[in-house]
Symmetry: C2
Subunit: 170 residues, 2 copies
DNA sequence: CAGTTTATGTCAGCCTTGTTGACATTCCAA
DNA sequence: TTGGAATGTCAACAAGGCTGACATAAACTG
């Protein structure tokens, strides 16, 4: 199973970064880093009796105002029952507004209320602060590599969604 | 809140990679990539009625044979009760062996059995295959940056554990 | 227009994996 | 030797995934 790598080829193109040991370390790095990545939002949301699921909903509604429930389902990869529970509490608590679709009245267009936007900003800024610090410490070239590897690691369908945001963004 | 960045400074040291927009994209990349990262192990473990928690336990016991429960707790960041449940099933199913500590009989030293090592190898190879493909697609320089940013993103305590593995490894 | 498909919401119940609390065992130090 | 700290286990609960079943309304199709 273990791939045949390790002998630095001719032309200085060493493949040592593809050894199982290097890849195991990358896996551990990903696992530990992801915990840091979610730690600050988790801590903040605890004060509001919300969890990671609420954070994800707030994030993507903020990212794509007016998005539909179905659209969100594709992004989040959960069942509608699961998403509905989270969305229900956010709507009942006045953080998300759900408007009947203009052209297609079956759809619901989702928006953050002022309060929702405020919470999203608070949580998001905490998370961005950590990522910003990591970016600054690692430098622009490292960040480019970081983004490149992450993109290559995504499931193709999610990569498409990601790239759509990438275009749409700035 | 948003940091004062964006004006490319003198000397070609542009800080555009620190804009909120770039950081938001990094956050999304991290989220989508982590789902890819866990997808293959999850799929395999489903067949054995195990979950992600079992995977983590197998991984770290394999990584540090003879480790104690307490040690594992520090690595995994869950309560001992939560870990115990997972460990219990793995021991009962004959994947992990728990030996009473030699010097301190309160401790338990954990090892993978042959069956445990086999499952660990199967799951691990699936995960490594995806990471390997991503590494290969991105290239060695990108991988170095990837690792650097991840390390900077970890909580300090976990970074220490991570670096200990890094030394001990290969 | 009748029938089907699509988008959404909801109820009920289950599973995994977190949590706290209570408790037994073992070790160590006063 | 006795009390406290460390280690591990059992019980019960909560969050947030899941499936299945079903209702409604709107859109689409023949």
């Amino acid at each position: 199973m273990a791939e045949h790598v390790g002998s630095g080829g001719a032309g200085g193109e060493s493949l040592l970064f593809l050894t199982d040991e290097q890849i195991r370390k990358g896996i551990e790095a990903m696992y530990f880093a992801y915990r840091g990545f979610t730690a600050d939002p988790d801590r903040i949301l605890e004060n509001y009796a919300y969890g990671r699921a609420h954070h994800r909903a707030l994030h993507f509604v903020n990212r794509s105002p007016g998005t539909t429930v179905n659209n969100l389902l594709a992004l989040l990869g959960v069942t509608k029952q699961s998403l509905n529970r989270v969305l229900r509490t956010l709507i009942d608590d006045g953080l998300v507004e759900s408007r009947v679709g203009a052209s297609d009245k079956r759809e619901r267009n989702l928006f953050l209320t002022e309060a929702g936007a405020a919470l999203e900003a608070e949580v998001s800024e905490a998370q961005r602060a950590r990522v910003r610090a990591a970016y600054r410490a690692a430098g622009p070239d490292a960040v480019a590599g970081f983004r490149q590897v992450l993109e290559a690691m995504m499931e193709p369908e999610l990569r498409t969604h990601y790239q759509a945001f990438k275009e749409g963004g700035a």
